[in-house]
């Protein structure tokens, strides 16, 4: 599929990766089979909290069984958490041991208690049924408030509390003072509902140990193979990098859930050495529901102090954040550094304080899911701003404008650590109002009323911090890894280019966007560029894709490597054309001697670099292949305005999204088509959270919404055409001016949806409704309001 026209920055180049997916030739982990491979079935705990013992005697003798492992067989390190958060009293977070296979106690339904390896998956499942498990149940801890006072016992006996850490940020005194003096106080209790990421490809892993070389290979569904190599190799299995290769081939969506190092990866890698055969595991969907890290799950009280004109004076936030039963890779950072630091939003609120207690419960571990912390922050800010406006009789638009950080205030230092580099929140709001036809809303509301329907409109003028980095900053905040990115740009002898990137594409379209960077910078068509990612043996290093960091960090690393390529190419060209390197200019892919008609193409130069007959050997090495690491100076700060319009049937409570508008500032746009696609997907997940999705546990710790029969996945008919636009302010600290677009849709939209629902119901006196706003919840709110009136 050749691309016509320009393939540089700003062109909606059709995706290079599409063809293989469209003809069924994608290569996902479960599509891979290794010679002499075995299949494994993970026997998982059916009890949420119990001491257990098991008898594998009968199962071990079953047909086709190769080997069964239990927790005590696997004497390896604990699955690590990548981020240490200290409590406000200075003590480090409580970090319970997390063995890949539970040894004698289980702490959530879904925890692995035995690993059955067999010739076929059916053999493994048959054998699993022969394992006799004896559970001695312990009281189950599900509710965070109950967990807090340890009344029902402990999730982990060895760490004396269910509180992982008690952390704070901001000036508590200033906030309390402002609240005591304020003309108006708005309060709100919100729950950010627990979600299940549900990438359409379930997780899968194949461990393949080669005894003759001592080399381990892990094929896995990961967003960051190098990170898995580090976490699994160094911390769990004690394998050095040079003996461990991690391959994340085509990956069918991640949304955060494939960042983390999971037990199954360690298990198949370790087991393949134990049995000296490849070991394959692929998750069922129902297994995914109880083993993929969940997202969100905060309970928060929030207080906003305003002066008599509606200007924000202070924000006070108290949050309980569910960690689940163990600390997943990034779990501790999500409700702290990715959450509380965002509480200024787009506003000049001068004093902010946030206290976060993270809590262990007998549930699946909770970690980053699209947006990670920022949707939770945005939700409570935009909900309480909405509520304050209603209470004070100020319009939703005016209260926001009144409090926006003005364009001339950048760089803007918030009271919660971050320094925003750029933004123009009025511009995105203005554009969104127009796109959503705000002026026509009253007429549409009247038309709905005529049909007996309620109509509402809701706003969210959000901000987020992404391009997750810089290493020095995250290091000071407890990150146990760096957050740079690495790229290598290899110009081949005939002038085509392969880029090796540490970013990982699992739907984001890097193979196209990154190729456009090369096209722009080196002046060649994207057809001449291949992007290679996902294999620790090919890629020098990488930190992977999450936190909307691929372009702002990974793309910038590619630019840095290209800068080195160009500098070297100029020297080669100067030598061959007998000019000074300073006089060589790169124009449209030609290295020209300024002011002359003499030039060389990139292909001419690369050929000279690999066939160095006429070459400056005393100054340069042959070849044209450069590598760069890039560690940014700051996060990037996309922001924007989402407007949702809903129609509600008061008789059934059914909420129909009638309009969803998003105008975002994601910085410089490389491929508008891909950016829009990212925003569409984010909006769908945001609307899904607001109206449909909820991971519900019963008091025994059983996940009630454990399949698509009960977990409401958004379908095409839940949505209308999205209206998407963008307004650009450039990021000031990267050369591309890019910010990031992967998460904005999911961050900005949930409060817009709920604000629209509340707006529709406000005439009845309803001032809050929790997510997801199911039809029954809305119907009940309407009934309660009617009964009150």
């Amino acid at each position: 599929m050749p691309d016509g026209g320009s393939t540089g920055i700003g062109a909606s180049v059709k995706r290079k990766e599409d063809y293989r997916f469209l003809v069924g030739q994608g290569n996902y982990t479960d599509d891979i089979n290794r010679p002499n491979q075995t299949y494994t079935y993970m026997l998982r705990s059916s009890s949420a909290h119990a001491k257990f013992s098991l008898d594998i005697t009968k199962a071990s003798e079953a047909d086709g069984v190769v080997k069964i492992f239990v927790g005590t067989d696997m004497d390896v390190g604990s699955i690590p958490c990548g981020w240490q958060v200290d409590s406000k009293d200075g003590t480090p977070m409580r970090e319970p041991a997390h063995p890949p296979i539970a040894k004698d106690k289980v702490r959530y339904v879904g925890e692995i208690i035995a690993v059955i390896i067999a010739e076929t998956l059916e053999d493994a499942k048959n054998a699993a049924e022969l394992i006799d498990v004896n559970y001695e149940d312990i009281p189950v801890i599900i509710d965070m408030q109950e967990a807090l006072n340890n009344a029902n016992g402990l999730v982990h006996d060895e760490i004396e509390s269910n509180v992982c850490y008690d952390w704070e940020i901001g000036d508590s005194e200033a906030v309390d003072k402002a609240i005591s003096e304020a003309a108006h106080i708005t309060t709100l209790d919100v729950r950010n509902n627990r979600l299940i990421p549900n990438a359409m490809e379930t997780r899968s892993a194949i461990g393949d140990y080669e005894h003759s070389t001592g080399q381990y290979t892990l094929y896995t569904t990961s967003q960051n193979p190098h990170v898995i190599r580090l976490l699994m190799g160094a911390f769990v299995l004690g394998l050095p990098e040079h003996k461990l290769r991690v391959i994340a081939p085509d990956v069918g969506g991640g949304f955060g859930s494939k960042i983390f190092h999971y037990a199954e990866e360690s298990i198949v890698t370790w087991a393949s050495n134990q049995i000296r055969r490849p070991v394959k595991w692929t998750s069922d969907r129902s297994e995914a529901f109880i083993s993929d890290a969940h997202g969100r799950d905060h309970v928060t009280s929030v207080k906003l102090a305003l002066d008599k004109d509606g200007k924000f004076l202070a924000l006070k936030v108290d949050t309980l954040a569910n960690m689940g039963a163990y600390l997943s890779t990034f779990a501790s950072s999500v409700p702290t550094y990715l959450y509380a630091t965002l509480l200024a939003g787009t506003y000049t609120t001068p004093a902010i304080h946030c206290n976060v207690k993270s809590i262990f419960t007998n549930t699946v571990p909770v970690d980053a899911y699209r947006g990670a912390g920022r949707p939770e922050a945005t939700y409570l800010i935009e909900r309480i701003v909405d509520k304050a406006a209603r209470e004070m009789g100020i319009s939703q638009v005016d209260i926001r404008r009144k409090n926006f950080i003005p364009v001339d205030a950048f760089p803007y230092q918030t009271p919660v650590a971050l320094q925003y580099d750029s933004g123009n929140y009025n511009a995105t709001l203005d554009a969104a109002l127009k796109k959503a036809d705000y002026d026509g809303f009253e007429a549409r509301k009247a038309a709905s009323a005529k049909k007996g329907m309620l109509r509402g409109i809701g706003f969210s003028t959000y901000l987020e911090a992404c391009g997750i980095a810089p290493s020095a900053v995250v290091g000071s905040l407890g990150a146990r890894a760096g957050l740079f990115e690495c790229a290598e740009v290899r110009v081949h002898p005939t002038g085509s280019v392969t880029v090796f990137t540490g970013s990982h594409s699992h739907g984001q379209g890097h193979e196209t966007t990154f190729a456009q960077l090369v096209s722009e910078k080196l002046g060649i068509s994207t057809d001449m560029v291949e992007i290679s990612h996902g294999d620790t043996n090919n890629i020098p290093f990488g930190m992977g894709t999450y936190g909307s960091r691929s372009l702002a960090v990974g793309g910038e690393a590619i630019v840095k490597a290209m800068d080195k390529v160009i500098a070297k190419a100029k020297k080669i060209a100067a030598h061959i054309m007998e000019a000074s390197a300073d006089d060589i200019e790169l124009n449209n892919g030609n290295f020209e001697i300024a002011g002359t008609d003499k030039s060389m193409s990139l292909a001419d130069i690369s050929l000279a670099a690999y066939v160095p007959h006429n070459y400056p050997h005393e100054e340069l090495e042959p070849g044209l292949d450069e590598k760069a690491f890039y560690d940014p100076l700051n996060f990037t700060y996309p922001g924007g305005c989402h407007i949702c319009e809903v129609e509600i049937n008061p008789n059934t409570g059914e909420v129909k999204v009638e309009g969803m508008t998003a105008v975002d500032d994601v910085g410089k746009v490389i491929n508008p088509m891909i950016v829009e696609g990212q925003i569409h997907g984010g909006l769908a997940q945001g609307i899904g959270q607001a109206l449909l999705e909820n991971a519900a546990y019963d008091s025994n710790g059983q996940l009630l919404s454990g399949s698509y029969m009960d977990y409401a996945m958004p379908r095409a008919d839940n949505f209308v055409d999205f209206k998407v636009g963008n307004e650009v302010t450039l990021c000031t600290h990267n050369s591309l001016g890019v910010k990031g677009c992967g998460e904005v849709g999911a961050i900005g939209s949930p409060p817009a949806v709920i604000n629209a629902v509340v707006d529709a119901l406000s005439e009845l006196g309803v001032d809050d409704i929790s997510m997801p706003a199911t039809s029954e919840k809305v119907w009940s709110a309407i009934n309660n309001a009617k009964n009150k009136n």
């Binding site: 059916e122 008789n651 059934t652 409570g653 059914e654 919404s705 698509y708 379908r715 119907w779």
Partner: protein, 264 residues
Amino acid sequence: MYDLQYSKPSSVNDAVAEIKKSSDAKFLAGGMTMIPTLKARLSSADMLVDLKGSNLSYISVSSSEISIGSMTRHCDVASSSDIKGSLPALAKLAGGIGDHMVRSCGTIGGSLANNDPAACYPSAVLALGATVVTNERSLKADDFFEGMFETALNEDEVITEVKFSIPEKATYIKFPNPASRYAMVGVFMVKKSDGISVAVTGAGENGVFRCEEIENVLNLNLALDALNNIQISHDDLTSDMHASAAYRANLIREMAKQGLKDLI
């Protein structure tokens, strides 16, 4: 899925003979519930007897009656011009079961034999007073459904046909569960010469049921506003994570109110 054997006899008699051979054999119709259930090891069978070869897929319509072979797929009922002409509510119901791929496999007989409490077809069969014909006998709808996933079918008995008498008017209104898209509440309403009958699926603790509260009101007063103030009892209605009994009661009334427009 556990090991099993598979056979596809070429007649109903052969199928019944086949099923009698083993203690744990099951009939296989469209398989849209059966196969996922077997796959999840929630049930097992030593033998599946596929009815697809037994010539049970047909639709025949007379002036007063529609006969549908038990292996007739939802998509065939939904697209049948005869059914659309004489009993459009049934075509609409069939066209709203699952999704278009499920409708290409799932069958009326399979749906009725399974009697899922949230399935659509049982409401039509009950409200229309249809006759369920088996290899052994004819069963009146009232006698066929015996509670959630329970029917009057004996072991080794197989549905061969369903007969619907054509009413004056009928309608089906469904409020789907947002996750499964099964009926959270489905209301099938029929106007016949001898009165109104209304059957509700998705809501009953004991599966599909006739809603006498609505029938009584409408038999006295078939008017658009007749249901505006009635209260449906919550007793015996399902409460689950998706909807409380009270909410389901409300939905029954609201769906019936919508359906009423089609009966008048």
